[in-house]
């Protein structure tokens, strides 16, 4: 692999031990990805701050102890703890302590304690064409598809190696060739579903199953696919598959540039979309509602507050969001609290013991939550769009007026 003089110096330890370790791992990973060289990045988002056991903590501690400092602006993903609402955590104290140590190690390396899985909702999000190294599967797909920034799917560890060296492997979605659609997903959207949030979840789940790692061009969606719906679509696709980027005809910024001449075309019918949603859903009485996976945007919280104003939830109702967004919509959050909602920041209800014992299924508008929560926290899931989730919470049983009705 070609390395510049600066990169060779980092590899030789001239910029310190932490950077030597990071560069060594980065070069070996880049070789496994067949990258011909590295490229410079202007920012990073770290997923490694979420605790999954001793190995992640040992790694971060080793880098921090060796004097590691990030050389590009770097944000931090959700962790296992809600630092603003610590009373919500019902898990093991020892694990909480280890989680806190992990978070501190990343802060010590100069990362910003943003604690959100939706760094694209922060004011300093990357611009079109910007090369970055992001972890967190939903953030990766959003950065590429919606912002037109460029990142590969970076896992824990490689994300901080990139942030410490300011480099990433020059391959895949960092390059024009890697962003070309190889597949068209031709979506049949029945008229009645055109403005239903769940349509985008269903399309995302289908996209992940069909595309795997491929970049797809989606046809059939229209201008109603705003940022929040594209967020939901991408998060679902990055859960059911390994999707790092998609294009939507006439909607996303690179659909025209890289959408042409795909190798194959797959038609997805409305019936198949419904079946995809139903395959993840369980049965039973409504036990709780969880919204905001990925973290709810300011617009989503304001819309939710309008739906909830002056009403009262009969079941536990959770909304996950980032602390930066929460600070911007404090009035709306007050409305949600009066509704009976618990506001969760810095983490997410499917990652960490917050829900407690739920009697019945948990209703969500999130494909990602539905995909991971059953194995992670042992609950069954029902889908509803945001409006139906609120109505269901108010009457205390599942109401489906939308796609699944």
């Amino acid at each position: 692999m070609y390395l510049t003089e600066d990169e060779k110096a980092m590899l030789g330890g001239e910029a310190g031990e932490a950077i030597r370790i990071a560069m060594d791992l980065l070069v070996e990973a880049a070789a496994a990805m067949d990258a011909p060289r590295l490229l410079e990045i202007s920012g990073a988002h770290i997923d490694g701050c979420l605790y999954h056991g001793r190995a992640g903590l040992d790694f971060a501690t080793a880098l921090a102890t060796a004097g590691g400092r990030v050389v590009v602006p770097t944000t931090l993903n959700v962790s296992s703890l809600d630092l603003l609402h610590p009373e919500l955590y019902r898990g093991d104290r020892g694990e909480a302590e280890a989680s806190r140590q992990l978070m501190t190690a990343y802060e010590d390396m100069g990362c910003r304690p943003t604690w959100t899985c939706a760094p694209y909702q922060l004011p300093e999000r990357p611009g079109f064409g910007e090369q970055v190294a992001w972890g967190e599967s939903n953030a990766i797909v959003f950065a590429n598809s919606v912002l037109g920034a460029r990142t590969n799917r970076y896992g824990d560890f490689l994300d901080i190696c990139c942030a410490l060296t300011g480099r990433a492997p020059a391959t895949g979605l960092h390059t024009d060739a890697g962003r070309r659609a190889t597949l068209v997903l031709d979506i049949e959207v029945p008229e009645a579903w055109k403005d239903d949030d769940l349509l985008y979840v269903a399309v995302g789940l289908a996209l992940g199953q069909i595309a795997g790692t491929e970049v797809a061009l989606i046809e059939g969606l229209d201008g109603r696919a705003g940022e929040d719906r594209l967020k939901a679509l991408g998060a679902a696709a990055a859960s059911s598959g390994a999707v790092g980027m998609f294009h939507v005809s006439n909607v996303t910024p690179e659909a025209e540039t890289f959408g042409g001449e795909p190798d194959r075309r797959v038609r997805v019918t409305g019936r198949e979309l419904i079946a995809t949603l139903r395959s993840l859903a369980g049965d039973g009485q409504l036990g709780a509602v969880s919204l905001g996976t990925p973290h709810a945007s300011a617009a989503e919280i304001e819309e939710l507050a309008i739906l909830c104003a002056g009403r009262r939830a009969k079941v536990p109702f959770f909304v996950n969001t980032g602390r930066d967004v929460a600070a911007r919509v404090s009035e709306s959050l007050e409305t949600l609290r009066e509704f009976g909602s618990t506001i969760v920041t810095d983490t997410c209800t499917y990652l960490t013991p917050i829900l407690g014992q739920v009697e019945g299924v948990v209703m969500t508008n999130s494909g990602k939550w539905a995909y991971y929560a059953p194995a992670n926290i042992g609950v069954d899931v029902a889908f509803g769009n945001t409006k139906d989730c609120v109505e269901s919470a108010v009457v205390g049983e599942i109401v489906n007026t939308g796609l699944l009705g």
Partner: protein, 118 residues
């Protein structure tokens, strides 16, 4: 990445997100919608058509390697840096190996596969 692994072959029909889909404590597939749910991957040579899902899978693979519950080696149908970096870091921290080879399903005719260098 270099290394030799040997063990009974497990062919996964779909990609697996190690995070959320694999329990590093007992080495078993826990993804409810995965065809190989309940299958142990510990000490096996695991063929996976492609990666899937979470970028936290690096941490989960590294943790499984630390605990001794990881596959003996992984054969990927398509390159996936998320698993590769997990394996590299665990090797660096603990001196344990889980070689990852990018090959294709057609190469896997026998119950044991020798993994070479990519």
């Amino acid at each position: 990445m270099a290394g030799i692994a040997s063990g009974p072959l497990v062919v996964l029909d779909e990609g697996l997100s190690f995070w959320g889909g694999f329990d590093p404590v007992d080495g078993v597939v826990i993804d409810r919608s995965h065809p190989q749910r309940g299958v142990s991957l510990s000490g096996k040579v695991v063929f996976m058509p492609h990666g899937r899902g979470s970028s936290s899978s690096s941490s989960v693979l590294a943790e499984a390697m630390r605990l001794g519950t990881a596959p003996a080696g992984i054969v990927l149908g398509e390159p996936d840096s998320i698993l590769v970096i997990g394996s590299l870091v665990a090797r660096w921290l603990y001196g344990v190996a889980c070689p990852i080879y990018v090959g294709c399903a057609g190469e896997l005719g026998r119950g044991h596969v020798e993994l070479g260098t990519t």
